[in-house]
Symmetry: C2
Subunit: 422 residues, 2 copies
């Protein structure tokens, strides 16, 4: 008997017929002798529907009080899902009970619309499992210390599922989604993209942070921190396929480096166009500058991704960074009104028509020349590189948005990702 966490996305929960299929699949696992915890997303389209209603009514200024109400509103989507899934499981003859995040409780900080989980109390859930019940927990949400509902941001249900699996010390966390695993890159851009049977946690983390939509990055961070055995697999297989076959399908996220040693240097190509670039030009080059700029932005709860500071000239330097496009206007406004006047500079440049393309691979650590191979491939296509950022297992470049697909295809080919590993 194992303790298994299943997570189902919005598409899987998209209609009563699909919810019934989810219930049948969960029942199959339960009847195979496992203790089951299920974390479903909101029915597809529901969160958008709710936020569209809010948008029609909302004031123009995004205050903390407004974000609190957005969470109050958006969290209902998952509550509907857990109730319906519990009902469908009861119709399958199982005992099932649903909990909203606040009932578990799943504790978070109070950063409305992008809260982070701080702790999960597993006692209630464990008691239910011992009593033979299937437990269904809302994804995407939790409870702050003042008793307010918080949400974890888009895709937060992945994080909820992994966090629950970590708290319960689950034997495996299965993320059922509308792709059948992790690919070398997005097959819609590169038809030759291959599915990876395993991917190291670190590669997965980079790919998630770099724009692969398979898993929310925080869910991968959580999985790594607690070494949660995590599998991404398709929710489109028939619910009654052989359970052993299902248990081996998709892509397994691994924590043992040895398994990867003989594999390719570069595992995949990630990309996204969710970011915007901001440059502050002619900043006095003195200690505390980076903090003055990035700190102010981070304090406003805006996540900064790439940060680049150029060599200084005449005591002044240029400072560039990227933020999510949704935060772009707010970040520009903040810099213009609060930060720049204090810095004694007025030149602020922004660009939203950029994209980030990255190569990811554990193998990169011990192989030289990987980055230069990347730059050559891009140069051969005539693509200009605007920013570069590297880490031990990835190299990212910011380029003009219009070259994104071209760059991804060129890199996929340059690193032989269409060929199975030897």
């Amino acid at each position: 008997m194992a303790l298994i966490v299943h997570k189902y996305g919005g598409t899987s929960m998209g209609s009563t017929e699909r919810i019934r299929n989810v219930a049948k699949r969960v029942a199959k696992w339960y009847r195979a002798g496992h203790q089951m915890v299920v974390v479903p997303s909101a029915m597809s389209g529901e969160t958008n529907r709710l936020l569209a209603l809010a948008k029609e009514l909302a004031p123009s200024r995004q205050t903390d009080a407004l974000c609190r109400e957005l969470d109050m509103l958006a969290s209902t989507g998952e509550q509907v899902s857990v109730g319906l899934l519990a009902i469908a499981l009861q119709a399958e003859g199982l005992e099932a009970v649903s909990y909203a995040g606040w009932q578990v409780p799943i504790r978070t900080n109070n950063a409305y619309t992008k809260a982070r989980i701080t702790s999960i109390d597993d006692r209630k859930v464990r008691a239910d499992l011992s009593a033979g019940r299937v437990v269904i927990i809302t994804g995407f949400q939790g409870l702050d210390e003042q008793g307010n509902i918080t949400t974890l941001g888009r895709g937060g249900s992945d994080t909820s599922a992994v966090a629950v699996a970590a708290a319960m010390k689950a034997d495996e966390c299965l993320i059922y989604t509308d792709v059948d695993g992790v690919y070398t890159t997005d097959p819609r851009v590169v038809p030759e993209a291959r599915r990876l049977h395993t991917v190291s946690f670190e590669e997965m983390l980079e790919m998630a942070s770099l724009g692969s939509k398979v898993l929310q990055i925080r869910s991968v961070e959580f999985a790594g921190k607690y070494r949660v055995p995590l599998r991404v697999l398709s929710s489109f297989t028939p619910w009654d396929i052989d359970i052993e076959q299902e248990a081996r399908s998709g892509t397994l996220i691994t924590y043992e480096e040895d398994e990867k040693m003989e594999q390719a240097i570069v595992s995949g190509i990630a990309f996204n166009r969710d970011e915007a670039k901001i440059s502050v030009l002619g900043v006095p080059d003195k200690p505390g500058i980076a903090y003055n700029i990035v700190g102010a932005v981070a304090d406003a709860n805006i996540e900064v991704d790439m940060i680049i500071q150029n060599l200084s000239k005449d005591g002044r330097t240029d400072f560039s960074f990227t933020v999510n496009r949704n935060d772009y206007a707010r970040a520009m406004d903040l810099l213009k009104t609060k930060v720049l006047p204090a810095l004694g500079t007025e030149t602020l440049v922004g660009d939203t028509k950029i994209c980030k393309v990255s190569i990811v691979g554990i193998g990169m650590r011990s192989h030289v020349g990987v980055a230069s191979k990347m730059f050559r491939a891009l140069s051969e296509e005539g693509i200009n590189i605007q920013m570069i950022s590297t880490s031990e297992i990835k190299t990212s470049v910011v380029i003009d948005e219009k070259y994104m697909e071209l760059a991804v295809r060129a890199l996929h080919r340059a690193f032989d990702l269409d060929q199975p590993p030897s």
Copy 2:
């Protein structure tokens, strides 16, 4: 400065445009210097939509576990409403905060889908009001002792609003609804029906319990218990009508009998076709019979309305009562399998094609001949009476459902309700 509770029905909350109008109306009251608590229902159609989804998935047997999930599901409708209304009020420039029932908390017993409020903690709400915030609280729901969400049953938001008004010792509770007050009877059945400017609490209680859909009965009970000044008024007036005029509109529920002394003997005609009749025939006439039958039904959380026991003959008697039509099948099943075998009788007769028509009026207490006038009016229309039940301020009859409108019109005319009181 007064503390005012507004309650808005699902129609008033039916679209973002209407929610914006609600916000403007609440803002008008707030700006007139009042402390405002608002209890909105779910957007019209939402509760039905959610329960229809549940119905597609639900097992045939209605268990406690199922009812728990139905509450989990249905309670989201009001949570969406409070979030949206808070957002709309913020757009009006007011500080507004929303709470789900469990956050206040509004405590209830654990009778899922028909819970009763046991207590309301007013501290959080009072602190917000003192800080100048408008507080918006979900209707229809609360929290049981084990931390589960409960709902109060259809129309429960009226009860929530009155209970909140009682807990906060509000100066007035205004129920905005799609009728502009309490009428002598339903104007759709009798076009000559008149709006009552005031109605006594006891009459309102009878009219609510007898089928007038204006207010849920429990909300009237609550209002009476705590003497909450309660006004039913139209949500269809423009939001910017003069506040003094609005404050005097609709129907006020009064607690002072003196005001009514000179008014008509009969205030209104109530009717409903929500009930079904169940008769157990040939029951041994001995102590404890009523308890054996009604007790078993009540223990299953089925409300019993009229109860009639006929004179016994040969040591056996007939026992009849009415229940809500929704509970009819469950009550019949319970009697057949559990109660009748123990009683030594097997004759069970049920009828769902009945209706109840009642005349209501404080004046009835001190006037003889009111009931006989009612029976004569019905007899003149050739309508047969199946059951009769009387109290100090109402007389109800059960008749064939098909004569309902005819009976109501005849009684409205017989008691001169189309004439203004002299």
